[in-house]
Structure formats: structure tokens, C-alpha cells
């Protein structure tokens, strides 16, 4: 037995309405239970945290505000001042030469025969290539549930410069 077209569309919207009501009742029933049993007791604290964060972002973005004393280039809280490249001198524990702290890492890399620049000179190129591309593999055993660590790295620094900070004054609006 076939029905005329209008009856079909009426029927289908009726069925849809039923399904929708059913789902709404599901959600209402579950939320009701959660509230009555006190399973959401942290709601207020969470909302407060969110409010504080929102407020903080507004205040920080406001250029008139300097909650952060950009003392990096002047004086730190202990009253000290530092050069942008650390100048403390000490002995390299590998070769014994005196090195300035801010240049220690690049020196040590060459000194120990590691790293990209040093490795290019090494004739055992196959092992060097392996080392280069297997970075991070020894580390993945500790977070088996996450993606391979080598694909989620935030790097830092540009060679030769001891960490210049981007003044990240803009905040991405979602």
C-alpha cells in the first residue's frame, strides 16, 4: 500500500521529531542524574578559573598595562644584569679549553664529535645519517599512547643566538 507524497513527508518529519525528542530526553535524564548526584561539584571553581583566564588575557593584551616588567634587558629581581650571551668562562670537560658559557654548546658539539656540523666531517657517514634521522626514537617508549615524539617537537633557538625572545604580544583569537 503506497501513500501519497505529502503523507510520506509528514510521516518522516513525525519520525524525526520523535527521534529528536528521544535524544533530548536522554540528555536531560543524564544531566539530571549528574546534577542530583553531585558529580559536577567543581563547576563553580572551573567557571571561576575560566573567568580569571579570560580577564587575564584582556589585561595582558592591553598595551597600557605592564604587569610584566620587561626587565630582561635591564635588571632582574636580584638586582643583577646579564649580557645577552652568557659570559661566564669555564673549562670544557672534554678538551680542557676555556669557553664562554654562551658558546659552550656549539663548542661541545664539535668537541664531542656530535651534531650535524661535526658529523659531516666524519667518514662513517652511514651511522651519522642513522643518528640524524632516528632522533627521538629512544624516547618513545615512555609515552606509548602518544604520537611519535619526533613529530611533535617545538624547537627553540637559532644558531649563534642565545635565545632571543619573540615579544609575543598578540594573542590569536579563535
Amino acid at each position: 500500500m503506497s501513500l501519497p507524497n505529502e503523507d510520506y513527508s509528514q510521516l518522516s518529519s513525525h519520525v524525526f521529531g520523535d527521534l529528536l525528542d528521544f535524544i533530548i530526553a536522554d540528555v536531560a535524564s543524564e544531566c539530571h542524574r549528574v546534577v542530583k548526584l553531585g558529580l559536577d561539584c567543581n563547576l563553580e571553581e572551573e567557571e571561576e578559573e575560566i573567568r580569571l583566564s579570560a580577564q587575564a588575557r584582556l589585561r595582558v593584551a592591553d598595551p597600557g598595562n605592564s604587569g610584566e616588567t620587561n626587565s630582561k634587558y635591564v635588571v632582574d629581581i636580584f638586582g643583577q644584569t646579564h649580557p645577552s650571551v652568557a659570559s661566564e668562562i669555564f673549562e670544557c670537560m672534554n678538551c680542557g679549553r676555556s669557553i664562554a658559557a654562551g658558546r659552550f654548546a656549539p663548542h661541545l658539539e664539535k668537541c664531542m664529535g656530535k651534531g650535524r656540523k661535526a658529523r659531516l666531517k666524519v667518514t662513517r657517514s652511514s651511522t651519522a645519517a642513522q643518528n640524524r634521522y632516528s632522533r627521538g626514537s629512544s624516547v618513545s617508549t615512555y609515552s606509548p599512547h602518544s604520537n611519535s615524539t619526533s613529530t611533535n617537537r617545538l624547537s627553540n633557538g637559532t644558531p649563534g643566538v642565545a635565545g632571543e625572545e619573540y615579544s609575543n604580544g598578540t594573542y590569536e583569537e579563535p
Binding site: V35, L37, E46, I77, H82, K114, N152
Partner: protein
């Protein structure tokens, strides 16, 4: 203490429910138990007649909500349920047939009774595919004789207090001990930022300041020239000595490169990678010293005692509901950013979260919800279901079986585009709280929600100890993927400090809240408060001697 005695406020029954129970006891519940049927996705309904569609006895309708009377089993729809109560005295409590929830017809509201929930859950468990233990805390897990680790570490504090107070006099100013800059040795801010966080992780701090790793004995015993633990110990001594000139962790860099030779390069490095690598180094060395070959779950090395937790993964067959469970240890949790701001969190299975749609901002709880959400695996990832004996679509759900003392949350800020074969950094702001309650993400909570949040004590509840955490450190990254900068914010005695390599400054908490976090470090509340007590701050008199440097405390020459 922060352990709640029960996770529920046991709801008081309404007058009518209480009356019903007095008169009828459990008869109604028990007789109904056999009619309860649970679907593979966890819905429990009342199914009295297998074949007939239930219909309202008044209007014969079968749509909308249907209720079955607990006393006489007659069925009414929501429009006519009141008629039934009025026509039959004492028939005041009914059950929503599709959801197996108690309904009081006179209060016109859903009501709750632990005894009823117990009946429901017992039936659910009985009907679980594959046998009783399925989906439940399986017996294969060892009974945890977890001693209270924190008390073990706490005992050490008395000794460490002694060490600190002896050096107090040399503190340059009235600032907490341990606050000191770290020199950048050439693109090593990734290392400095993690070290600052580790330096102030209470269990690690207490361990090393209590001289638990004795360098003298270590060198004698192992005869090795390089020991990562000795260098970390030296770092702690230097940083907590009271000397405020920036320290150069050169020796540590050297030993770390010896340990992780594949990471030994002065190029771009990732702080999280370094974090994992350092913990691994500590574990390796301590295991050698303790001569233990215990697996991560029970390892007693300080890295694991502080950071190790246990994750649970449930894979569930969509067809029959059979669940297989595995446990994996972890030292941190890597979270994907909750970028789908417009989709509400999975309300059905979680307590109501503040609506993210209102603010449109990614939140840490959103990320944690995402992490513990039941995810349907693609149809190309069908798994073999033991119950169905064939390949089936499944869903996977993560939860936390055991929380660590120190919780490190790593935010994955890299996005890969397969199309363009490029990666880019996600700069999106992430809201994170200073106080964090991890209860909703525990395996006990997730399991409970899968059984409809019924009032029922599942096994292994509250064996985690404290689920409430306080933040003590934030590592923030600014800049681009291949070149950027790390800084660490430290929270000491409720004051925030920014550690930007050699530069230490005081900052408002707002700066921290608004920062672009990459790694968050939380510690269990009791440890946090205890740690704050121990951070002594000494006022210096104007006639104090000028600062004298002490061997091993300032310069790095060895």
C-alpha cells in the same frame, strides 16, 4: 585532606519514594531485574515483553516517554502517568522504560535510589558479554599494595631543612631558595626551561636536597666519570645554595649528551623530548644502582616515583559490547588541542562542563575530555572481537588508572598537513586552571559513566589517593616551529616568577594565565602545600656580610 569520602552526594529520597520502600521493600526492584536488558553501547531498558511494543494503557500510544509502574507493572505514557497514580492509590513510583530511571509521579521528577542502582548495575554486569569480569577492573591486574609514597619522601624533608637553613644566610635577598637563573649555553633554553620545572617538583627537590644521591659514594662505586644523577645533584646544590648569579649547567649538558647521543646536537631541540630523555637517564642510572629490573609500573627510581602514572585503554566491540582492557605506564600525558570549540563536550558521559561554546576558547578540561572520550576507530582498523569471533568495528577509550604525584601535561602544538607535507605550530591559546581536579578522567569515573553514572562502588576506587592538583610550573613556548624560545613560570609560595634563561623576574599571575603553555606541571595538593611551607625565606639584616662564593656553588669549573 582532599580525598572525598564518597563521590556522590547520596540523594535523599522524596517522601513518596521513601514511603514506597517502606511498604514494598525491594520486591518491585527485584522482580523488574530480569526485564532489564542492556545494549552494547550501555543503554539499559525495561523490556517486559520481548515481542510486543509497549503501549500506554490509557491511550494505547507508544511514543514519547513510557513509564512502567513499580507496583502493578502497568504502562503509561508521560501524558497519562498522573492518571494512573490518581486512579490507583499508592502507585506513585514508576520507571522510565527506555532509561531505567526511577520516576516519582507526584513529584513529577526523576528520583534516585542507591538500592535501585545496585540492582541495575548487578544486572548490567551479569549480562556483560564475555563473562563477569569483562569491562570491569579485571582480576589480571595485581592488587596494588601501593604504599603511600609521599610519606616516604616527606620524611626526608626534615634533613633537607637542615641543609637549607645552613645556607640561608647567604641568600642575596628575601626570595625563595632555589630561585636562580640558568645561563643559556647556546640554544639551550629547551633544557633550562625543563630544569627549572624539575628543580621545583617537590618529590625531586626533596629527594636531591636530602642528599639521597650521594655523589661521593656514587663515584666510588661506579667508577664512571660521568653520572647524570651526580650532575643533577650538583645542580640542586647550586640552585638552592642561596647564590643568585646565573648557573651554567654545562656539566649536565655534557652528561646528558653522553646519555642521549642521538639528541646530542646544538640545533633546535624540543623541551618535552628533553624532559622524557632526562627522566629516562635518571631511571637508567638508578636502576643500575638499585640493581633492579622492575618494570615501569613498580619502579622505585625517583623519576618514576614522582612522575609515573598508569593509563588504561578500553577497546570495545561496537556490535556486542565486549571490552578488552590494557594498562600502560606513562610519565606524562600528551594532549591534543581541543580545537573543535563548537562541539560541546560529551555531556552524556561526563559531568557538565562549563560551555566552551560561550567563550569559544580551548580549555585544558576540553583537552582532557578529548583524551578520555570514546573514539570510534575507523573501519580500516577493525579488531578481532573475542566474543563475536570476527573482525568488528570498535571504539577505544582512554582513562587514568593511577595518577602520579607530579602530573606533567604536554600540549601537542604541532599540526601536520598530509596534503602539503608541512608541519606548523598551533599558536592557539589554551586556558588552564591553577587548581585541577582529575577525578572525571580516572578509570573509575569513566567506568562508572559507562554504566550510566549509577550509584555503585566499583572496585579500586579511591586507591589513587588525591586527585586534586595544584600547578607549580608552566613551560611556555613563543615563536615559530623551527625557531622559538622557551621560558618557565614558577609558582613559589603563591608568587609567580618568570625564568627566562639567566633572567628571573616576578610576574603577575595574569601573565601566566595568558601565556601560551606548552607543558604544565601539577603536583598533588598535599605535596604542594607542604612544599610551600618548606620554602623558607630569610630577611637579611643590613649589616649582612657581602656574599661569599662557595666551591661548587657558583662557577662551574670542575
Amino acid at each position: 585532606m582532599c580525598e572525598r569520602n564518597s563521590l556522590y552526594t547520596n540523594p535523599k529520597p522524596c517522601k513518596h519514594l521513601a514511603d514506597y520502600k517502606l511498604r514494598r521493600g525491594f520486591n518491585g526492584y527485584d522482580s523488574l531485574q530480569n526485564c532489564l536488558k542492556t545494549t552494547p553501547n550501555g543503554r539499559t531498558r525495561v523490556d517486559k515483553h520481548n515481542t510486543k511494543i509497549p503501549r500506554c494503557s490509557f491511550c494505547n500510544g507508544s511514543q514519547g516517554r513510557l513509564y512502567i509502574c513499580l507496583v502493578c507493572s502497568s504502562i503509561s505514557c508521560s501524558s497519562h502517568i498522573l492518571f494512573h497514580t490518581q486512579s490507583e492509590k499508592g502507585h506513585e513510583v514508576a520507571i522510565d522504560m527506555e532509561r531505567s530511571e526511577l520516576y516519582c509521579c507526584l513529584c513529577r521528577d526523576q528520583v534516585y535510589d542507591p538500592d535501585f542502582d545496585k540492582v541495575v548495575v548487578s544486572k548490567q554486569v551479569k549480562d556483560l558479554p564475555g563473562g563477569k569480569s569483562n569491562g570491569f577492573e579485571a582480576c589480571r591486574e595485581r592488587s596494588s599494595k601501593r604504599k603511600r609514597i609521599d610519606s616516604g619522601i616527606g620524611l626526608d624533608l626534615k634533613k633537607s631543612k637542615l641543609l637549607i637553613s645552613m645556607r640561608d644566610r647567604r641568600a642575596k635577598s628575601c626570595y625563595p631558595l632555589g630561585l636562580r637563573g640558568l645561563n643559556n649555553l647556546g640554544s639551550t633554553c629547551f633544557m633550562n626551561s625543563v630544569l627549572q620545572a624539575l628543580l621545583h617538583a617537590p618529590p625531586l627537590r626533596n629527594y636531591f636536597l636530602s642528599d639521597r644521591h650521594n655523589s661521593v659514594q656514587c663515584r666510588k662505586r661506579s667508577g664512571e666519570k660521568v653520572c647524570l644523577l651526580c650532575d643533577i645533584d650538583a645542580l640542586y646544590s647550586a640552585m638552592f645554595s642561596g647564590d643568585r648569579a646565573p648557573y651554567s649547567p654545562a656539566q649536565l649538558l655534557y652528561s646528558w649528551w653522553q646519555h642521549s647521543s642521538n639528541l646530542a646536537s646544538y640545533e633546535e631541540q624540543d623541551a618535552h623530548e628533553f624532559f622524557i630523555s632526562v627522566l629516562d637517564g635518571i631511571h637508567e642510572k638508578e636502576s643500575k644502582m638499585l640493581n633492579s629490573c622492575k618494570d615501569d609500573v613498580d619502579c622505585q627510581c625517583i623519576a618514576h616515583r614522582a612522575f609515573s602514572g598508569l593509563l588504561r585503554s578500553d577497546v570495545r566491540c561496537i556490535s556486542c559490547g565486549f571490552t578488552s582492557t590494557t594498562y600502560d605506564p606513562c610519565v606524562d600525558i600528551s594532549l591534543n588541542l581541543d580545537t573543535s570549540n563548537l562541539s560541546p563536550s560529551d555531556v552524556a558521559n561526563k559531568p557538565i562542563k562549563p560551555t566552551d561554546e560561550k567563550t569559544g576558547v580551548s580549555t585544558l578540561s576540553g583537552c582532557l575530555n578529548l583524551f578520555t572520550r570514546a573514539e570510534k576507530l575507523g573501519s580500516d582498523q577493525k579488531l578481532h572481537c573475542q566474543n563475536c569471533q570476527e573482525l568488528r568495528d570498535s571504539s577505544k577509550q582512554m582513562s587514568i588508572r593511577r595518577l602520579p604525584l607530579v602530573l606533567c601535561l604536554h600540549i601537542k602544538r604541532v599540526e601536520h598537513s598530509l596534503v602539503r607535507k608541512m608541519s606548523r605550530k598551533i599558536d592557539q591559546y589554551l586556558q588552564f586552571p591553577f587548581s585541577l581536579d582529575m577525578t572525571p578522567y580516572l578509570s573509575s569515573s569513566i567506568t562508572r559513566s559507562r554504566f550510566g553514572n549509577r550509584i555503585f562502588t566499583f572496585e579500586h576506587e579511591n586507591s589513587n589517593g588525591c586527585a586534586e592538583y595544584e600547578i607549580f610550573s608552566v613551560i611556555a613556548h613563543s615563536g615559530m616551529l623551527e625557531s622559538g624560545h622557551y621560558v618557565t613560570y614558577l609558582r613559589l609560595k603563591n608568587q609567580w616568577y618568570k625564568c627566562d634563561d639567566a633572567w628571573v623576574s616576578e610576574v603577575d599571575e595574569e601573565i601566566v594565565r595568558a601565556s601560551e603553555c606548552y607543558m604544565l606541571f601539577y603536583v598533588q595538593k598535599p605535596l604542594y602545600y607542604k612544599a610551600n611551607e618548606d620554602l623558607s625565606c630569610v630577611r637579611i639584616s643590613p649589616r649582612r656580610d657581602p656574599f661569599l662564593s662557595t666551591a661548587g656553588c657558583s662557577s662551574n669549573a670542575k
